[in-house]
Structures are given as C-alpha cells and as structure tokens.
C-alpha cells in the first residue's frame, strides 16, 4: 500500500495528465462513433453540434433548451424532469469536482495543446495584472446569468419586457467556441458560418466567430485563456462544496514560496498565499493538480477523494519531477 502511495506521489503528473486528457478527448469527441453515450447532463463541453461523434452532451446546452419553456410547464411533470436533470448534472460533477475542467474538458485540452505549442516555440506566456485578474472574475457569472435568463425570456415576459426572438434559444451555444472547434475535429467545419437570415442570428453568429478567433489567439498567449470566462465553471462552482474530490492545503506546512502559484494555469493567488483555509478549490480552480506536483513541502497540498488522500505533495516527488534527483547534465 505504502509503496503504491509513493509511486503515485512520485508520478510525473504532466505526462499522466497529458495522456488522460487525450483519452478523455477521444471519448468525448469521437465516442459517438463507438456508440458511447454518456447522456446529456455532462458538466463539461461535450458538444451537441458534434452530433455523430460526441460521446455525451454538455449540460449547459440542455439547460438553455429546458429553460426556453413557459413558466406554467415547470409546475407539472416538466418541473420534476428539470430537477432530475439538474441533480444528474450535480452527481456527474461531484465525482470529479472541477477536475472535469483540468482533465476532461475538450476545450481545456485544446488550450493546453496550444500552450504546449507556445512552450515549444519558446514564447513567453502573458499574465494578467492582479487587479485585472480580480476584475474579470465576475464575467463568467454574468455570462451564466445571461444564458439562464435569455432562454426564459423567449416564452415568458419578465418585468413586462417584450419576449425575445426564438433565435436566442441557445445563446451561449451561439458564442461558444466549442460549437465550432469540437465538430472541426471530426472533419465537420459546417459550424464556421455567419447567419444573415435575421438580425439576431447575424449578431450571435458573428460574435461566435469573433470568440473562436479570440479563443485560439488568447489561449496561445495566455494559459487557459477561455476558462477565466467560462460560465460552466461558474455553474460548477455553485455546487462545488459537497464534491468528492478536493484540493486540500495544510497552511502550517506552507513556506509561501509560490511554486504552486507559478505552476497554476489560472493564476490563483490563494493557492500560495492562503494559509488558513483547508479547501483550496476556488472559483477558477480547474483541479489540474499542477500545484500539488509543484509543491516541495511534504503533505502541504493534497488531492483528496472522499476523505482519502490520493495524491499529495512530497519532497521526493518534487525532486523527481524537477529531475533534480541525479547529477547528470543534459545536453541539447
């Protein structure tokens, strides 16, 4: 048991995650070809527009679709169905917590590939200043509220406002880069279009094209660029507290060296500076566990599943991961 534990703590997380993400990507983007169907309540971007390939469907799409109905419907059976969907989403989410973002999400994986490409080209990543970093935090919640409220306003008049056109039934999907990029991986480029049929469609599809461009450029220069604005992350965070997988920190053991912060793709300052809280799954955390792998203090950071430590920071593991264990010089 203890030798297995040691093996896990000494693992090369970067490599493990790289392959895990590839497997997850294949399942989600191409799983449909092998008739894999994980349902339509997945807490990750499994795109409904990738109709043949997708191994499951994203709950954000489902949620918008459900909310389009008039209020009266929800008082009956549809209300229960809606609740059950939400619970299904939570159950999926609770298993992995935000690791859905760090290990499964195909959009996240694409961004990590772009990051790897940039690293290969020896181009420095850019960072937000701390002030702008905290200013942009609220954007994902605004997007979430909009994507919840816009579909509702199609069939219902809220505060006496006029009803919205039907073209807005999936407002987030219109602007989600996943709609264009995920099907593209199965050779389907049909989602790259601008729809001139109505004003609404024109605006939304144009926005979508702009955002996909921003996504590609942004995540090339900024690690996990899109995740800062992701409404899925906002929705997930609301339910994050009871999740089974956790990132714990023992503040007493922390020297605030900041190694974890530097490894963090989401530039989460708390991971290094917070020495009082135990649960360090913050709103932007993608639970990629890079911080645990970069921490040189024994038992300071750990990934914990249902109360059991599954991966924790150790000096030995750190030294192995940084290849400081042997005195061999490398030449390139």
């Amino acid at each position: 048991m203890s030798s297995l534990k040691k093996k896990i703590n000494n693992m090369n997380l970067i490599r493990f995650r790289f392959w895990f993400q590839i497997v997850a990507f294949v399942l989600i983007v191409y799983g449909g070809y092998a008739s894999l169907d994980l349902g339509d309540k997945l807490p990750t971007f499994a795109c409904v527009f990738n109709s043949e390939g997708t191994g499951g469907k994203c709950y954000i799409g489902m949620l918008q679709h459900d909310l389009k109905n008039p209020f009266e419907i929800f008082t009956g059976f549809a209300g229960y169905a809606f609740l059950i969907s939400l619970i299904m989403f939570m159950v999926w989410f609770w298993v992995l917590n935000k690791s859905w973002c760090g290990f499964v999400c195909p959009l996240g994986t694409m961004q990590d590939w772009l990051t790897a490409l940039r690293e290969k080209l020896k181009i420095r990543f850019s960072e937000y200043s701390w002030a702008s970093r905290s200013n942009i935090k609220s954007i994902k919640y605004i997007l979430l509220i909009l994507l919840l409220i816009i579909p509702v306003m199609i069939s219902n008049s809220i505060f006496g406002l006029p009803k919205l056109p039907n073209g807005l039934s999936m407002p987030f999907c219109d602007i989600c880069p996943g709609r264009m990029l995920i099907p593209a991986f199965t050779g389907n480029f049909n989602q790259f279009y601008i729809d001139f049929s109505s004003k609404t469609d024109l605006v939304m599809t144009t926005l979508g094209m702009i955002i996909v461009g921003l996504f590609l450029v942004g995540s090339f220069i900024k690690k996990r660029f899109f995740c800062y604005f992701c409404p899925m992350a906002a929705l997930q965070y609301i339910f994050s507290k009871p999740a089974l997988l956790k990132l714990y920190k023992d503040g007493a053991k922390c020297t605030k060296c900041g190694d974890c912060y530097r490894a963090c793709d989401m530039d989460i300052l708390e991971i290094a500076d917070d020495v009082t809280n135990k649960n360090l799954v913050t709103e932007d955390c993608i639970l990629c566990l890079k911080c645990v792998a970069a921490c040189p203090e024994d038992g300071c950071l750990e990934a914990n599943f249902t109360g059991i430590t599954i991966f924790e920071s150790t000096k030995e593991g750190f030294i192995l991961r940084m290849a400081m264990n042997k005195q061999k010089e490398s030449h390139e």
Binding site: E119, K122, R124, F125, S129, W130, G251, A252, K253, C254, T255, K256, C257, G258, D259, R262, A263, A272, D273, V275, K290, A294, P296, K315, F318, I319, M322, A323, M324, N325, K326, Q327, E329, S330, H331, E332
Partner: protein, 424 residues
C-alpha cells in the same frame, strides 16, 4: 645580534595567524570534544583547515563572483561559468579590523565582512561583488567596500514580498543581475546551462533535505554544529566536491541510524536555532548549546536552512520561466527579518518545532543586528502563544562573553529537562 634573522610579522601575517587560531580552535573542538565523531565529517574539517589555516585557494583560474547575501542566485552564476563565493564573515579578527571602519554599534557580521575586504587578504579573491540591498548595514557597506577598490554592483532588493510590485521589481533586478554578470563574463546565458545549474543546485538542496531527515529521528546521529559546518562549506566550496562529501556523509549517517549511534546524551533537549546566522568560526552559541547537553535539530538561519530549504520549481523549462522561478525562490520564501511583515518566519519556526519534535527554541541576535533584535518581541509572543519555550540571547564575535551566555543556556536547557519530567 641574535635578532638579525628575526622577521617582524606583517599585518597580513598577523591576521592570517589570528584567523588560523580561531579556526583551528573550533575545528579541534569539533574533532575531539564530542562523542561518536563522524568519519566523513573529516572532509569538512579538513576543508576549513586548508582554507583558513593553510590559506589554500580553491578556485584558481576561475572567475570568483562574490555575493553579500543569499539572495544572489547561484544558479545564474554557475550558468555563466562563475563560482559563487559568499563573503559573509564570522571571524573576530576581521570584526576588529572592520570596527575601525564601521559605526561602533554595527553588526559584527558586517564589520567582519568589511574588515575582510579592507585587509584585501583573500584565499579566493572575488573578481566582482554583487550586493543585494537587504538590511541597512549590508546595503550601506557596499560603498565602503567599493572604496577599497573592488568592483561592486548593488542589486535592488524589495523590503516587502507580498505585493505584485515587489515581485515584478525583484524579477527585474534578477534579470539585471544576469545582464551585468553576462557582460562581465562575456558569455550569453543559455537555456541548457541554466537548466543544468538549476538541477545541480536542486540536487545539492535535496542532499541537505536528506541530511535534515536524520535529525527528525528520535536518535539524532549528527550534531547541529557539524551541520552548520556542512552548510557553511557551501558558501565557498567547489560544488561537486561538496556534493560528493555530503553524499558520503549521508551514507555514513544511514549506517549510524541503523546502528542507533547517537551524538547526544541520554536526555538531551532538542533545540531549534533561529536568528542571526552562525558563520564559521563564530559558532559560539551553537557550541554552548551542544556543550550544555542540548542538541540542535533544526535551524532557521540564512547560513543554513534558509539557504537550502526552498527549491526552484520550473513549469516551462525555457529561459523566461527559469529566470522567473529563480527570482521568486529568492524572494517569496525568504524569511529574512528585513521584510516588513514577517508572519512567515514565525510560522516557519513553529513548523520546524513540530516537524523536528523540538522542545525549545533558542533565538540569537547579534548585538547591532537591528532587524533580528526588533523581531524578537513578536517571535517571543508567538512562541508563548504556542506554548513553546524560547530563550533570547544577544551576542557578538568577541571571545570574552562565554561565561554569562553559557549560564543562561545551561539554565534554559535544565528547564527544558524539568519540563519534560513534569510532563511525564
């Protein structure tokens, strides 16, 4: 007529003779006065004897880069083919020379360092000196040292470490340092060399951590004094030799741990040492502690633990990220008292007490080291809150203070023993 061949001793010879006496006195004590001496420590005893008594130089033909504090990144020096030589000085002889050049109440470490420069009497004379603007006295000593004709470059160091500005500021300083050194060396910093340097220093640090692990055990196989000697050797030794010697030391300690060979008495209280750094041969306080049946199991000083504990972690092994992680390592984790707020140091001492199962803390400040003297109050308060006994001492480099200090240390150690008995 008889004194025709009698040479009058030059000041330099006198300085050498006095320093050799200081050094050999301590080395002989370490070699002979404690039980169960460690064979592989002989390398280190011999190293200090060669350098300080026989005045052998270690780095002939290499460019020696003098550093005035731990914040000058050795990784960059090695990557640019230099040899870092840390010039913090522990000799009373040099302290006396420096006294004429510095204010009376200045810190003995600075006085000794300045005195050493004033004498110009080096076994490995630095070709260039980098001085980070850490404490007031070190910052100001730079100009004095420069006036003796040394090439000295100040490296801007911030006095806070929490803010974004200080982080950026220090990153720029480190880049500037690399530029200056690269100019001086006529060599461009490249990725492979920097990576190798980071890994080599990381490996040396990992050895220190292994060494420390033995001190966590119930049976302590090595004296705190010996560990100070090992870490002090890292100031100036050839890094490959140091690594080899420390590897040997670790394998000997492994055997000793198995055979349960201890250097302590039956009930020696375990001590964490913090405060002004013991630098060879000023081991006055550690020596008193370990001669009074205490055992130093860990320390929080810049001549030992602080120099080795925190390691550079690189996410993307390109120059830009290596430079940033080096910069962060030398700033963020540092618990030097020059920083404004210093809860980190308190948390660190408490954690060391827990991790090394220590029973008390001894806090030494050099008379004249204002920042350690000032921080004393908050550390004492924090230890009281944690229920950790602590003794605060003020000392300097003079050999005359011994009696009074040892009475206080002995009394403290006795009280720790009584405390333990009462607990049982």
């Amino acid at each position: 007529m008889s004194n025709i061949n009698h040479n009058i001793e030059s000041p330099k010879e006198k300085q050498n003779r006095h320093k050799a006496m200081e050094a050999i006195k301590l080395l002989n004590t370490l070699r002979e006065d404690f039980k169960a001496p460690i064979k592989s420590m002989e390398y280190f005893y011999d190293l200090f004897e060669r350098v300080h008594c026989k005045h052998e130089s270690l780095h002939d033909g290499k460019t020696k880069i003098g550093t005035m504090c731990i914040q000058i990144p050795s990784e960059i020096i090695y990557a640019l083919d230099g040899v870092p030589v840390r010039l913090c000085n522990g000799f009373y002889t040099d302290d006396e020379i420096g006294s004429d050049l510095m204010p009376q109440k200045a810190c003995p470490l600075i006085k000794a360092t300045v005195g050493h420069f004033a004498s110009g009497n080096f076994t490995d004379k630095p070709d260039i000196v980098f001085s980070p603007t850490t404490c007031d006295q070190k910052t100001k000593a730079g100009t004095t040292i420069e006036s003796f004709g040394y090439k000295l470059i100040d490296i801007d160091f911030p006095r806070t470490k929490e803010s974004e500005a200080s982080r950026e500021y220090w990153r720029r300083s480190v880049k500037q340092f690399a530029v200056e050194l690269s100019k001086f060396q006529g060599k461009k910093l490249n990725r492979t060399d920097l990576r190798n340097a980071i890994k080599k220093i990381g490996y040396a640090q990992s050895l220190y951590h292994k060494l420390s692990d033995f001190r966590k055990k119930e049976i302590v196989p090595i004296l705190g004094l010996d560990v100070f000697l090992v870490t002090n050797a890292f100031f100036f030794d050839k890094i490959d030799n140091w690594i080899e010697a420390t590897e040997k030391l670790i394998s000997e300690l492994e055997i000793r741990a198995k055979e349960k060979i201890t250097v302590t008495g039956k009930a020696s209280p375990r001590i964490v040492y913090t405060g002004s750094p013991p630098i060879f041969p000023n081991y006055k306080i550690p020596q008193i502690i370990e001669e009074s049946d205490g055992i130093i199991v860990a320390d929080e000083t810049c001549s030992s633990n602080r120099m080795f504990n925190d390691m550079v972690a690189v996410d993307e092994w390109n120059i830009y990220d290596m430079m940033d992680s080096i910069s962060d390592k030398y700033l963020k984790a540092c618990t030097c008292p020059i920083f404004t707020k210093n809860e980190d140091r308190i948390r660190r001492v408490v954690q060391l007490v827990k991790e090394y199962k220590a029973e008390g803390v001894i806090y030494q400040a050099f008379a004249g080291c204002t920042v350690y003297e000032m921080e004393q109050r908050s550390v004492l308060e924090a230890m009281e809150k944690e229920g950790i006994p602590i003794l605060y001492l003020e000392s300097d480099y003079s050999p005359s203070q011994g009696g009074q200090l040892s009475t206080r240390v002995e009394a403290f150690i006795e009280s720790l023993k009584t405390r333990r008995r009462k607990k049982k």
